[in-house]
Amino acid sequence: MAAEPKVLIPDKDIDCIGLFCPMPIVKTREAIHGMRPGELLAMLSDDPASDADMRSWCQGTGHELVEVTREGGVYRFLVRKTR
């Protein structure tokens, strides 16, 4: 039996379109700070560096990078606050 497609609904969205490093990470960090462990944050960015930056930041902080999608030049990162 095929698994139900899982749709993840973020608890919070932030839009970092047009911003460059370090601002997408700075704003992600601020947003995560105000959330509860287990909650999901969606962040939009069109900075070509944000893919590598977000992976590195999640690895360093321990927050879970649940999903990265890209449409045109825009990335959508889904991050779960772990602690």
């Binding site: 460059f20 490093c21 370090p22 990470i25 700075v26 960090r29 069109d46 900075d47 070509p48 560096a49 930056d53 590195s56 930041w57 360093g60 902080t61 030049g73």
Partner: protein
């Protein structure tokens, strides 16, 4: 301002973050703030005085850069100059932005301007560096394409102090007919740089880096090289940077450039290098699991950067501050995000080392007594933090 041999109460070793303005610069600036000599475009006699002062400052900056006077475009600082160089050349390139080359250890204003071009459809090559942060000129040669519009390489990486082999790189870019942009922040007046003689096409400089006022800088552009202005308005600075010139700051920048040139000819780089070596040798000798980052030999004379294991930089910096020493971790970006610095990543530092990155930058008023104060105060701080094994404050 020379301090005596006694242990100083305040030790300032964050010149790369902010340099005190030279009192001689300040003295020259004062009348421009107080006497109405403000707008070089004004039609009255004060305006013509302002114009003359502005042009004198331009000539002084050009002399320090080693290029012709009309090439100087005054800006609000190095970040704007880097943006003007990269976007100005990249967007001017025929058929739109095509290909630009920089290195993985450039200043964030260079990297983000490149990414902006990338978003506009350009290809960007970020050259790798070796474990000391040095780019191999052969990598520049290999990365060049027929559609390359610009190569941008900093004279020195201000996070780890490594200087780049610009003479060899410029030979390659000139042979290929591709403009070379050099961000000379940290390096001007501390190492031999001459735009015309070395074959640079654009040079970025910062006023505060030369002990001039903050909020001013310049981009030198080789006459004949076409760029697109990034700030539109009344056509100041030859139309390439509109907005009434910040005359007091630019006059200050001119004097600062002149002083820097005189000082470079009178042994200041060697004095700084001696302080640097004393600090490096003392710290590496006294603290275990601590090493210099960047190159030992191809290095800015005023720059010390270290990584140490088992103690986090923000805890060390906090403790240093409590005992009167102002230093930095080298990367303001990394400090704001909690993510590892792109420069330390590029030179292959381990994650643990990246957390313990310290940077001491010296300048005109740095003394042996200040260096010795760090040698005395830092080792016990590191030992204490390592013994506690406490996490860094968040």
């Amino acid at each position: 301002m020379e301090r005596g041999g006694a242990a100083p109460d305040r030790v300032y070793l964050d010149y790369a973050g902010f340099a005190p303005v030279d009192p001689r610069v300040l003295a020259v600036m004062r009348p421009f703030l107080e006497a109405g000599i403000g707008n070089p475009s004004a039609p009255h006699s004060l305006g013509s005085e302002a114009r003359e002062s502005l042009e004198a400052a331009r000539a002084k900056v050009a002399r320090l850069v080693g290029g012709s006077g009309p090439g100087v475009i005054f800006t609000s600082g190095a970040t704007e100059a880097n943006n003007l160089a990269i976007r100005g050349v990249g967007m001017r390139a025929s058929a739109g932005p095509r290909h630009v080359i920089a290195t993985a250890v450039e200043h964030i204003s260079v990297l983000n301007a490149c990414r902006d071009l990338e978003k506009a459809g350009a290809a960007v090559t970020l050259l790798p560096v070796d474990g000391e942060g040095c780019v191999n000129p052969d990598e520049v040669r290999r990365a060049l394409r027929p559609e390359t519009a610009l190569v941008s390489i900093g004279a020195a990486c201000v996070e780890i102090g490594t200087t780049q082999p610009l003479t060899d790189i410029a030979r390659i870019t000139r042979a290929a007919g591709v403009p070379l942009h050099v961000d000379a922040v940290g390096a001007l007046g501390r190492m031999a740089l001459a735009a015309d003689a070395m074959g640079f096409d654009l040079v970025t400089l910062s006023s505060n880096d030369l002990y001039g006022p903050p909020g001013a800088g310049a981009l030198w552009v080789r006459p004949g090289l076409k760029i697109l202005p990034q700030m539109l308005g009344g056509g100041q600075e030859g139309g390439y940077r509109s907005g009434t010139e910040n005359l007091p700051a630019l006059v200050g920048l001119g004097v600062a450039a002149e002083l820097m040139r005189a000082e470079a000819a009178h042994g200041e780089p060697a004095r700084l290098a001696a302080l640097r070596d004393r600090l490096v040798e003392g710290l590496v000798g006294a603290i275990s699991d601590c090493r210099l980052t960047g190159s030992r030999s191809a290095r800015l004379p005023q720059h010390v950067s270290l990584v140490l294991r088992g103690a986090k930089a923000d805890s060390v910096l906090l403790d240093l501050d409590l005992c009167g020493v102002a230093a930095s971790s080298g990367s303001a970006c990394a400090q704001r995000t909690g993510a590892p610095s792109h420069v330390l990543r590029a030179i292959g530092c381990s994650p643990q080392e990246m957390e313990g990155s310290l940077c001491f930058t010296m300048g005109r008023w740095s003394t042996i007594a200040e260096v010795d104060a760090v040698l005395e105060r830092l080792p016990p701080i590191v030992a204490r933090l390592r013994a506690l094994g406490l996490p860094a404050p968040r």
